[in-house]
């Protein structure tokens, strides 16, 4: 197992109380596997990604365990953690325009990672940066361009080239297709597939997305997140064919290809979560029990689990 997250909690202190962005998350990621983390905005997906690489602000209280190759990342000294970032675990952020440094050329932004982690000299690092650009579909002659000179799709390719620079075993991609044209989204999905499944041995990726189409195209397994908890997980095909949690079903129904059926109500505030099952106020199947007893995850098949009493 490459990554094993156990009982991860991320709380932010606010004036009104604790914001429970992740509330007891368990996740497993196998080598060479792409795991999709889906859920609506505010469900805690991004926070989870940042918690793994310990990039959350200091105000976040993080507890639990994040085992990467058997090593608890949450317990590593900061300097050790720094050496994991970018070398073993890379992140690809959404909105590459703001995530790339506007004052540095993309070549420099790739080369510096190689110089830091692989000790390459300037010239060798730039040489390799050019190759990485070519690999992600950017002509190497653009190496001296600045982020603002590239198109949205090109910027995301450059972002991916940075993430790949040190050949990490795990990529964490946070909404990598958000804000891109649909045709460009397809290209980025293909590129992400090529740099994970297309290399040998295949590379693992945690894909954080709210786009079910992207998740269906790329992932092996899915974890559905709602209000800081994983409510359902399973093989991607299985979850799509046979969604067992009412929220997963609602999420799938809301997809345009399934008729764009909206779920009533709003996702709850992470400060005042409803008692019992967090989803019960919006759930069509909710019964009395749901309102005061929090459901636990039940295994309902080979590698398929759901956090619901009546699944």
């Amino acid at each position: 197992m490459l990554l094993k997250i156990t009982n991860l909690r991320v709380y932010f202190k606010s004036a009104d109380g604790f914001v429970k962005a992740a509330d007891g998350v368990d996740l497993e990621l196998y080598p060479g596997e792409i795991l999709g983390l889906v859920g609506e905005t505010g469900s805690g997906k991004t926070v989870l990604g940042l918690a793994i690489t310990r990039l959350l602000p200091k105000t976040a209280a993080v507890s639990g365990e994040v085992l990467y190759r058997g090593q608890n990342l949450l317990a590593l000294p900061e300097e050790e953690m720094r050496k994991v970032r970018g070398r073993q675990v890379s992140m690809i952020f959404q909105n590459p325009l703001s995530s790339l440094n506007p004052a540095l050329s993309i070549g420099e932004q790739i080369a510096e990672v190689l110089r830091e982690h692989q000790g390459l000299k300037r010239k060798a690092a730039w040489q390799r940066a050019g190759e990485l650009l070519e690999l992600t579909g950017i002509p190497a002659k653009w190496i001296r361009s600045y982020p603002h000179e590239l198109s949205g799709g090109m910027r995301q390719r450059a972002m991916i080239a940075i993430g790949l620079a040190c050949a990490p075993s795990l990529l964490i991609a946070d909404e990598p297709t958000r804000g891109l044209d649909v045709t460009i989204q397809v290209q980025i999905v293909e590129l992400l597939h090529a740099v994970t499944k297309g290399v040998s041995p295949p590379r693992s990726m945690l894909l954080i997305t709210h786009d079910l189409g992207v998740a269906a195209a790329l992932t092996d397994r899915l974890a559905v997140m709602y209000a800081g908890k994983i409510v359902e997980y399973g093989r991607t095909g299985e979850v799509f064919r046979n969604p067992r949690h009412p929220y997963t079903r609602a999420l799938l129904d809301s997809h345009p290809s399934n008729g764009l059926i909206a779920t009533k109500g709003f996702s709850p505030s992470l400060i005042n979560l409803p008692p019992g099952c967090s989803f019960h106020p919006r759930c069509k199947k909710a019964r009395k029990k749901c309102a005061h007893e929090p459901p636990l995850v039940q295994r309902i098949g080979m590698d398929h689990g759901v956090r619901c009493f009546y699944a």
Binding site: L55, R82, R85, G86, N101, A103, L104, V113, E116, I162
Partner: protein, 313 residues
Amino acid sequence: MRRLLIQRLVSAVFVMLIASFLSFLLLFYAPGNPAETIIRQQSGLDPTYAEIELFMKRHDLNRPFLVQCLQWLYLLTHGKLGVSLRTGEPVLEEFTARFGATFQLAVAAMALSVIIGLPIGVFAATKPNSLFDHIIRVVSLAGVSIPEFWLGLMLMLCFSLALGWLPCFGHGTVRHLVLPMITLAVGITASLMRFVRTSMLEVLNLDYIKTAKAKGLREVVIVWKHALKNALIPVVTILGTQVGHLLAGAVIVETVFSWPGIGKFFVDSIYARDYPVIQGFVLIIAAIYVLVNLLVDILYVYLDPRVRYEGRS
């Protein structure tokens, strides 16, 4: 870039013309008379009414305001700034003879401000609300508020009179430069620290800093390369406008320390109502100011790759 240069040169001409017109206007209606002061200086006696009349006539000082103004402009178009009423030397020569000393003082003070203010501002921003940050906030507030003439006198009192380490006034060696330089630098250092701190704090919260951290870069690289390169962009603009403050401060500091620069000569000329000198100096200083800000704009291109002046409307 060429477009920018032309725009700036055109605006420079207007800035200079307006600055000299306004100073002309102020001087013309200000009480006092150059004839009285200058004759008294030269002969040591109170001038008679006839002497004053003669002096005024000789220097065309009794003509109407607009006529004098146009006369001065006419001279200017022939590349002349006129002659000092006090010394009889051409204004331009008076300026160039003294500008070196002022330039030395200004550059030294600016360099000291950047060397001290920049790193302190950066450190304060990396540890916001720490004890260091709070101390720096108080120190910079004090630095901005202390008037230069008082600070200069206090430094003299302490380091020249009491301790005897440094000379009180004069010009020539590095030791002479220390006190005036510090006096002039304190205010600029203080405001620079605050600007750098604010600008850094803003940048350190941006997405690309998170990216830099996610890349596993060292804190030093993140702060001094990724953040500072962006944070400097607004700071450079501020530095450009500080040149005005620098020249104004130089006038006071040079007077306090008897530093033989344009500042002191300028003040003496104002007391003596030496019109051509005042006019000429205002014009040149306005030109320097515009020039420095043009340099800042050019520097921008190197700091911020997003700024390219070509193709901008």
